[in-house]
């Protein structure tokens, strides 16, 4: 069969148009007017940044790229301030699609010295319930959550001069930012459960990827909770000190799926993989009305579905503790829903 040259020409034009549209989408990057200082003492900024996208992030940072594409990552801009007399300063600006994602990256480690990079940050708080730092410094590394931007500014060698330069760069990054609130799902975590269990706010992590979850609390090398970029998830430990002075720790996990069906389906996959001995008679729907509890090894596990939310507690010393923790946290979601309805 012969194809006419006219037809070939038409197809070529269509292909070129599609490629042009795709290229436009790929190249559509978030841009934020961040004005980094051109010079800082002995350091000089390069004229232009290295641009890293999800297509080449593994070339730039090897397997660490999995972390960033586990959040809603747009692109990364890298600057290296150089100096003849001091070691370089690396500036990495991670442009994320939402402020929640930038918060999530900072939330993976709340360690370091909190620093206020702007007067707005000094006066801001993420909510009335839980306040989180927006910038943390330690031994030459400054990490910043600034609206949709997550930044790492690192002096390869910390000196007093380098620290001041790092903080100056940080102030430039945080300037003119709106200081958006943290993820809503984090607000649902009760700081205390009947004055018995205390939330470890400093270990509260927001994420969307099972690889990130595994780096916080190992569940399974497979994605048995159906986590992906469409979900919001938070995990944190609750702790209490027993009469004998020992510390007990429970792991709480709350995931918001895109809809109730997805939540129910995810619970089904989780139950099948994690609780195979309780497979008989299992129905994910039964966790909608009330929480369910299971004895596993030397602890208790409990879960409950509420609309698009799935709450799971691990490592509970008894069923009652699991019940209390699920109840309090789900109640916070219900309270918010009732407020909206009113």
């Amino acid at each position: 069969m012969r194809i006419s040259s006219k037809a070939v020409s038409s197809v070529s034009i269509i292909i070129i148009l599609i490629l042009a549209i795709l290229a436009g989408v790929i190249l559509k990057m978030k841009t934020t007017a961040i004005r980094l200082p051109e010079t800082l003492g002995p350091w000089t900024k390069p004229d232009s940044p290295q641009i890293v996208t999800s297509a080449n992030i593994f070339d730039y940072m090897d397997g660490a790229g999995e972390l960033y594409i586990g959040y809603r990552f747009n692109h990364l801009e890298v600057y290296e301030y150089t100096s003849d007399s001091q070691d370089d300063i690396l500036v990495e600006l991670y442009f994320m699609d939402t402020s929640d994602d930038a918060f999530g990256l900072l939330s993976l480690d709340w360690g370091g010295e909190p620093v206020a990079l702007s007067s707005a940050q000094e006066n801001s708080s993420t909510s009335s319930k839980a306040q989180f730092s927006r910038a943390l410094y330690g031994e030459g590394l400054l990490r910043i959550w600034s609206d949709e931007l997550y930044a790492r500014v690192m002096a390869y060698r910390e000196t007093p001069e380098a620290k001041e330069a790092v903080l100056t760069i940080g102030r430039a990054i945080a300037a003119n930012q709106k200081n958006l609130p943290g993820p809503e799902i984090v607000e649902f975590l009760s700081p205390f459960i009947e004055s018995e269990w205390r939330l470890r706010k400093d270990r509260t992590r927001f994420f969307r990827s099972y690889l990130v979850l595994n780096s916080i609390y190992y569940i399974s090398p497979q994605n048995i909770l159906d986590l992906d970029l469409s979900v919001d998830a938070v995990t944190a430990p609750y702790e209490k000190t027993t009469e004998s002075g020992d510390r007990e720790r429970i792991r709480f996990l709350l995931v918001k799926y895109i809809d109730p069906d997805s939540a129910q389906q995810a619970l089904g996959h989780f139950h099948e993989a994690f609780l195979p001995e309780y497979k008989k008679g299992f129905s994910a729907a039964s966790a909608i009305q009330e929480p369910l509890f299971f004895e596993v090894e030397d602890s208790w596990l409990g879960y409950r579905l509420h609309g698009s939310y799935l709450a799971i507690v691990f490592d509970c010393p008894d069923q009652e503790s699991a019940r209390k923790i699920i109840h309090h946290n789900i109640s916070n979601i219900k309270e918010k829903e009732e407020t909206i309805e009113k």
């Binding site: 940072m61 660490a64 999995e66 330690g138 590394l141 090398p221």
Partner: protein
């Protein structure tokens, strides 16, 4: 019939059934044959010198050279560095040096010291190359010297010995997700298997938290070189140092997450060596402070 593989979970880790579950779930591997196999020697030497780096973490090349000499002599039991090298490699070997390329990379001073030492021992310079990279690198070598840096890793728990050959697969990402426990198979690739003559870990300035990018708060001056020919034994010792450092930092147990399944699997599934610390002979020389063992 649907072939349902059992999924590995946290519960296997708690119950101590990781090896069995991994062995049963890894595709195409006759794990029961590999189980229990061990390498020839599980001696691991640790040589430390508190002057290996200065306060600003600059490496002292002369000190590192001395540490390397001591490592070779103590590990092989030979009387000279030359005899030590010639008990591990042949002058005709095409020798590939394999350092950690990214994120807390192996110090260049150590790579240079190893290369110089080989040349001084009679290995022609043209027979020595940097063999980190794609599959073509090991294919061009008859002997490999693994030079990983000591570090935790956010996808595999530990990112030291077992992970050093991951680029040899030509697709490192395949080990980033559920297959990180399969890192042992990179040591069994036809063009890699049996070529590793020495594992020499750069433990001068390790990274004890998983990152994924280096955070200076989790690096410390250990000032050590860790050596062996049983890669699993060396990784097991490295893991113990990392775990003890993490506990020292937090004042309470601070487990790696994900757990470093690749180390146990390298032993119980791939038979590359021993991951039982009680079966490893550890010899330590030099600076003794904060040995973390």
């Amino acid at each position: 019939m649907k072939n349902e593989k059992k999924k590995l979970t946290r519960r296997d880790f708690i119950r101590g059934t990781v090896g069995a579950t991994l062995g049963a779930s890894l595709v195409g591997l006759n794990w029961s044959k590999a189980k229990g196999a061990t390498a020839g020697s599980s001696l691991v030497t640790i040589v430390r010198d508190k002057d290996a780096m200065d306060a600003a973490k600059n490496v002292n090349s002369d000190v590192v050279k001395n540490m390397l000499d001591q490592t070779l002599i103590k590990f092989t039991g030979k009387n000279s560095v030359k005899d030590a090298w010639l008990s591990l490699v042949k002058p005709s070997d095409k020798i590939g040096l394999v350092p950690t390329p990214h994120l807390n990379p192996t110090h260049e001073e150590l790579v240079t010291a190893v290369k110089s030492s080989l040349i001084e021992s009679g290995i022609p310079e043209e027979n020595i190359s940097n063999a980190q990279g794609g599959p073509d690198k090991p294919k061009a070598c008859t002997a490999l010297i693994a030079l990983p840096a000591l570090k935790a890793h956010w996808l595999t728990g530990l990112g030291t010995v077992m992970k050093i050959y991951v680029l040899y697969t030509g697709n490192a990402r395949q080990y980033h997700e559920q297959n990180n426990s399969k890192l042992g198979e990179t040591w069994t690739l036809p063009y890699v298997k049996g070529k590793t003559k020495l594992v020499l870990v750069d433990a001068l300035y390790p990274l004890c938290d998983k990152g994924p990018q280096p955070d200076p708060r989790y690096k410390w001056a250990y000032n050590g070189l860790i050596a062996g020919t049983d890669p699993v034994a060396v990784d097991t010792v490295c893991l113990k140092i990392i775990m003890n450092k993490r506990e020292a930092l937090r004042g309470e147990p601070w487990p790696l997450s994900p757990p470093p399944l690749c180390v146990e699997a390298a032993d119980k599934v791939y038979g590359l060596g021993t991951s039982q610390i009680e079966n490893i002979k550890i010899e330590h020389y030099g600076w003794n402070e904060d040995l973390l063992l």
